[in-house]
């Protein structure tokens, strides 16, 4: 590994959170963003091909060194770390709506899921997975919600573009009538916000 890759390894080891490439550039005054990307690739290959227990993962717009899944059970058994509690079905569905339609208000979430959403929204906010991103111009200026970087981190995604696209889902949306397809239609939202 070149010295820059070693420096990045040390920095990512010390940071204990995902660090963006733009942040990593500041470690070395002589390094460019491209240099950092090349060095990160080198670090990843180093972990992947030399048989390491950790790997370099792209997460929430940054990079983080994480242990490999194969060792999760042993680490948990020894009580060295604890897995994140699972999300409930209501939380997951609400997150799905927000992730694809953000910024989105409560009324639209409730309309899609067919149930009231205030309790779920509160607990998602408490867990830091969603945040208020603004207010709608509509009647009563309702709050609009969006996902946070912690949401990406929890799902192990590098960005929102990593969510599945419409064509990747097995249930293709077939509107019953051609005129039913509007800008608000579900077929449109998966393609939107990309």
């Amino acid at each position: 590994m070149n010295p820059l890759a070693q420096l990045l390894e040390a920095a990512l080891f010390a940071a204990a959170r995902p660090v963006a490439a733009e942040e990593l550039v500041t470690l070395d005054l002589d390094a460019s963003l491209d240099d950092v990307r090349v060095a990160l690739d080198q670090l990843r290959e180093h972990y992947d091909f030399d048989g390491h227990g950790v790997e370099l993962v792209e997460l929430a717009g940054g990079y983080q060194i994480l242990s490999r899944p194969a060792f999760a059970a042993a680490i948990e058994r020894a009580q060295l770390n604890v897995r994140q509690p699972r999300l409930t079905a209501a939380m997951l569905e609400t997150l799905a709506v927000i992730a694809y339609r953000q910024p989105v208000g409560r009324a639209e979430i409730e309309d899609i899921r067919g149930v009231s959403a205030s309790g779920v929204l509160r607990s998602l906010q408490e867990r830091g997975l969603i945040e208020v991103t603004g207010r709608s111009e509509g009647l009563g200026r309702p709050l609009l919600y969006g996902t946070t970087p912690l949401f990406l981190e929890l799902l192990g995604l590098s960005d929102l573009q990593s969510l599945p696209r419409a064509e990747e889902l097995t249930i293709a949306l077939q509107p019953p009538k051609a005129e039913a397809v509007g800008p608000d239609d579900a077929a449109a939202y998966v393609a939107a916000d990309r």
Binding site: L66, R83, E93, G114, A186
Partner: protein
Amino acid sequence: MTAGAPVTALPETGLNLAPPLVDRRVALAGGFVVELEAFSGPLDLLLHLLREEQLDIADIPIARIADQFLAAIHELGLNQAADYLEMASRLVRLKVQMLLPRSLDGEEWEDPRAELVRRLLEYQQIKEIAYWMAAAAERRSLRFGRGYLPPPPEVPPPPLTLDLFELLSAVDRAISGILHPVLHRVIARPLNVEGATLRVQSLLEDREEFVWLEALGVRPTISDLLSLLLALLELSRRGLCFVLQPAAFEPLLVRRESPRPAA
């Protein structure tokens, strides 16, 4: 969810305000058992019913599904039922609309089920994304970062069950741990309202009026001041003296007689 015996006969409860049981199963006429708590809403329940009967979403037999839906929510507590009742009324309405004769003169017939089908498909897609996200979160949770601190569990702290003795001994333990405990000592200083009353009365015997601070000694303490204030309030309440302020921010005057309105 724990297993329980399926409820086979639906009791006639009318309005059911009781909190929902942890496991409430409803045996439908079709013979299969529905666990309502397992559903995240009316659309979820509807999708489940369609799947059980292997029906096509695009061509829902509304009458049959509406009956099954009503049977399934029959046992719900009213608080939970709000979201379900809205869907139930929608289904009943659709059932009626489907019974209306269609005009045969070639006019285009608009399927009243179209809106429901659109919502079901939309919700089904959200569910699929939710499954995908659950799997992604599961994969992510198998990787640990360095120095990662898991968030505290979301259980509320249990209510404190202590008697007074346990509480006091806990306070003792906490205080004994402090090197130099700064304890505030509360000293009871009784107010001398009677003395102040006598002083005001003797001053009024001498003079027609005086400034209220004159009734205080040379070096008044806070309790002297409070005593005088209470004495003045009590005396004026009983009509034995009158307190007035000639102008804003001027000192209060204490007078023997009521100030008469100017003739």
